[in-house]
Structure formats: structure tokens, C-alpha cells
């Protein structure tokens, strides 16, 4: 193990300031500082607040990661960093820190793709992936089905949300039914007391015509509107809103359409492994439904522990390690972060 290079990974694409250390597919450290508390008052992420929080957290988080791995900066063989996609101002903090470290240590620098990093994180949990794999990525900002042909070099986008991200839908629906931010855990808690079959909310883009044009795409805005209408109707009729049933019905609709389309993608592309990642993968109902549907379809489901599902630096180090193992050329020191970096670009030049 120790003959594999030590990769330092830095992630600052959204809320979390993450620094991780990895050798090959072995996790050595995963230190994360979150600015979520600071964001609660807004119910979300504010770019300038996020940038400032990253700036303050960067050096302490780096020291924590090094201490966790029992390593010094001098032991680092290469630096990997999220080049995009993400919030422009937030990305810039991580990229600047990574460049400074690479120059100071005289080590190669790799700017890598955040989305593919989520898939690479799985290698830290259960060892090397046997590509090709289909990945279902669901978080506050992302809802995508990816086909990863080769973790270090090749990924394509099969489908994505046409309007709201799944995590965003959780946050907005939480607000509609009087639950607090963050919506994910609060809806899950409320749903535990509800009946998922009591209210059937619509499954976006699952009709025959939609399936032709948007086979692997998602839409959650119609679902959000349906919840709003249901709540308004109940209130107008003077009925108490059964928060548990609404939360459970909504959660069921999201989990159903996500898993149905991801399994369909595996079957139609002849892929036998699915990776589930992103912050919404923490949702217990989504995990359960994915597990049972994959099992029924003979698909191996792989998913990392929660701390590797949400944004973190170890996943970026893991992707960096895969890139280094291939002897791919490092990024130039003047590369710029790209807030809309396409998933096809695993490594920037």
C-alpha cells in the first residue's frame, strides 16, 4: 500500500470544505468543515458566504486531514482539486489553495470533475470498480444518471433534471408543509409517521411520450406544484394537513422515479453495477428502494458510507489517485475553475 503515491484531495464546490488523503483506493483521511450552519438562516447556500467560509476553513481542515493520516505535507506526492462544476466563487478558493500547495511542494496538480469524484468515492469503500458502471447522483444541486466507462478518462451524461434537483425539491416541499431547512432529513423524519400510499403524487417524465424524448431525464417541478396544490386544497376545505402523509407520498414519488430510471438505464445499456451517491443518497427510503429494485434486476448496487456520499475531499483524492495511476498528464498551473464543467471532462488540461 505505502508504495502507492499519497494523493491530497481538495473539494470546495458548494457548502463543504473537504480535504482528504488517499493511497490508491485506501482512505487515510477525510476531514470536512461545513458552512451549513451559517447557511441555515438563508435556507440555502449564498455564494459569498460560502467563499468566505471556505477561506477560513481551508488551512485548519488541511491540518486535520494530515493529522488524521499521520502524514506531513512533505509526504504528499500529488494534489487533486475539484475544478467544477459548482459555485464559481467557492471553487476558486479550493483551486487557489491547491495551486499554492502544488507550487510550494513542487508536486503535480490535477483539476478533476466533482461529479466523477462522487463515483470514485465508492472505490474507497468497496475497492476498485469494474467499469462500465451507471451512477445515480442525487444532491441539492445535482440529479444525474451517468455512464462511467472508465473512472479516470471517460464518463457520459445519460440524463439529468430538466428543472429542480431532487435535493432542492426536498427543501422546497419542506417549506410548503412547514418543515425547516435542510428539507431532506426533516421530510424523512415526518414521513416515518405517514402512509406513503395515502396520497399518490405525480411521477415526472414517466409517461410514454416523455419516455421517448426524456428517457433518463427527471422533472420535479410538477411534483412540487402538486404538493402545493394538495396543501392549499386541504387548507381551503378547513382540513388539517397530514404532514406525515404528504411527506411520505412526496418522498415515495421521488424515490420511485429516481430508482426506476436508473435501473432502466442499467438494463438498456447492459450494465451490471450501479453506484448511488450524493447527499440525497442518505435518504433511507431511496436507499431501500434502490437496493430492492437492483436486487430484483440482478444489478450489483454499490454505495459508500454517508460521509463519502456527501461532498468531501477524499472523493477528489480518490479520483486523483485513479488519474495518477494512469500516468495522465497533470493540469497546467494556470487552469481555471469551470462552474459548468461538463461531466465528459474528467480531468482538466
Amino acid at each position: 500500500m505505502s508504495d502507492q503515491p499519497l494523493i491530497l484531495g481538495i473539494e470546495t464546490s458548494c457548502d463543504e470544505t473537504g480535504v482528504g488523503l488517499v493511497r490508491g483506493t485506501t482512505l487515510l483521511a477525510n476531514a470536512v468543515a461545513s458552512s451549513v450552519d451559517e447557511h441555515v438562516r438563508f435556507g440555502g447556500v449564498v455564494p459569498e458566504v460560502a467563499s468566505r467560509a471556505h477561506l477560513e476553513a481551508m488551512v485548519p481542515t488541511l491540518h486535520r486531514a494530515l493529522a488524521e493520516a499521520g502524514a506531513g505535507l512533505g509526504d504528499v506526492d500529488a494534489v487533486a482539486v475539484t475544478a467544477g462544476p459548482g459555485l464559481a466563487g467557492a471553487l476558486m478558493v479550493g483551486v487557489s489553495a491547491a495551486k499554492a500547495l502544488a507550487v510550494a511542494l513542487d508536486k503535480p496538480l490535477y483539476g478533476v470533475n466533482h461529479l466523477v469524484g462522487h463515483v470514485a468515492a465508492e472505490q474507497l469503500e468497496n475497492g476498485p470498480l469494474a467499469e462500465p458502471v451507471v451512477a445515480l447522483l442525487v444532491s441539492g444541486g445535482h440529479t444525474e444518471i451517468l455512464l462511467v466507462e472508465d473512472i479516470a478518462t471517460s464518463a457520459t451524461l445519460l440524463g439529468q433534471t430538466l428543472d429542480d434537483a431532487a435535493g432542492e425539491a426536498f427543501d422546497k416541499v419542506a417549506r410548503l408543509i412547514g418543515l425547516k431547512y435542510p428539507g431532506g432529513p426533516n421530510i424523512q423524519r415526518a414521513a416515518a409517521d405517514g402512509d406513503p400510499g395515502a396520497i399518490r403524487f405525480p411521477r415526472g417524465l414517466t409517461g410514454q411520450r416523455d419516455l421517448e424524448r426524456h428517457r433518463y431525464d427527471f422533472s420535479f417541478s410538477g411534483l412540487k406544484t402538486a404538493v402545493a396544490r394538495w396543501v392549499e386544497t386541504a387548507e381551503r376545505e378547513g382540513r388539517a394537513v397530514p404532514v406525515g402523509d404528504v411527506a411520505a407520498g412526496f418522498q415515495e414519488a421521488v424515490a420511485d422515479v429516481l430508482t426506476r430510471k436508473a435501473v432502466l438505464a442499467c438494463q438498456e445499456r447492459g450494465i451490471s453495477t450501479m453506484v448511488l451517491a450524493g447527499g440525497v443518497a442518505a435518504n433511507a427510503r431511496l436507499r431501500e428502494l434502490t437496493r430492492s429494485r437492483c436486487a430484483a434486476a440482478g444489478i450489483e448496487l454499490r454505495q459508500p458510507r454517508f460521509s463519502l456520499c456527501t461532498d468531501n475531499g477524499a472523493m477528489i483524492a480518490a479520483l486523483g489517485a485513479a488519474v495518477v495511476e494512469r500516468d495522465l498528464p497533470p493540469s497546467s498551473l494556470d487552469f481555471a475553475s469551470d462552474s459548468s464543467l461538463p461531466v465528459t471532462q474528467v480531468l482538466v488540461g
Binding site: 440555502g44 433534471t161 428543472d163 429542480d164 434537483a165 422546497k172 412540487k224 402545493a228 386544497t233 381551503r236
Partner: protein, 161 residues
Amino acid sequence: MIDLDVPDAESMTALGERLAAVLRAGDLVLLGGDLGAGKTTLAQGVGAGLGVRGPVTSPTFVIARVHPSLVEGPPLVHVDAYRLGGWDELEDIDLEATLDEAVTLVEWGEGVAEGLAGDRLEIHIDRSHGGDGDPGEVRHVHVRAVGGRWDESALATAVRP
């Protein structure tokens, strides 16, 4: 004030496309309405009408997204002020830098983004809150031109189906 009844999502997209025809670089559109009113659907129509690179999706997470033109027209800067605390934070994202050469469309911009430009279109979408037999799909769209940039009667002709 121009008032329109928009029966469904396809008609909302079509309204956005017609709106795009009266928009040019430097224009500001503020778009208001409750969660689920159809703001992003209207923005998708504007994007399609302008011929910009999509997909035009909810910008709530990224706050602002630039869609470059595919037809040598102005880009669409699609903004969401849902999570911003007010004018100061809107200023932080520096929309002024692109205001002159882009069409800037701000969701949840009412009461926040007026200071960006004296000439602007203010659009508000009301979702019908139902009643007996109301299918609930119909949206009431109010379009108001502020400043001298648009002639309201010509605008009304342009945006009506």
C-alpha cells in the same frame, strides 16, 4: 399592465418564446410568483426563444447561470434570488458586469432586484388557487413594463397568443 391567462405548461413555454422576441441585450426581466407557479417554465421558453444553450433549469442552487447564445444573439443570465438575503447579496454576484450584453432574468426578484435597471419588465405569475371543479392548471400572468424601453400596447400585441 397586461393580463394573460395561461392554461398549461406548454402555453407558458410558448409565452416565454414570444417574450424572447421583444427582448434584446441589456434587458432586465423580474419574475415573481409562488413556489410551483411556473417561473422556471417561463424562463425555459425565453431561453428557447433566444436560442441559448440549455438546459435552462432551476438556478436556485447555483444562484446565477449564464446560457451562451447559439445563434449569435445575447446570452441569457438566469438568476434566482430565492436564497439571497437582499440587495447587498444580489450585488455580491455582480450582475452589473453582464447586464449590458445579456438578457438578465431574475426569479424571485420582486422587491430585491429593481435597483438593477430603471427599464425593466416585471412579470408576476399567480397560480389559481382553485375552487370547485378547477383543474388548477391555469396561471394568471401579469406583465408590466417599467420605464420607457417598451411600449405597452405593442408589448401586449407581441405577447398575446
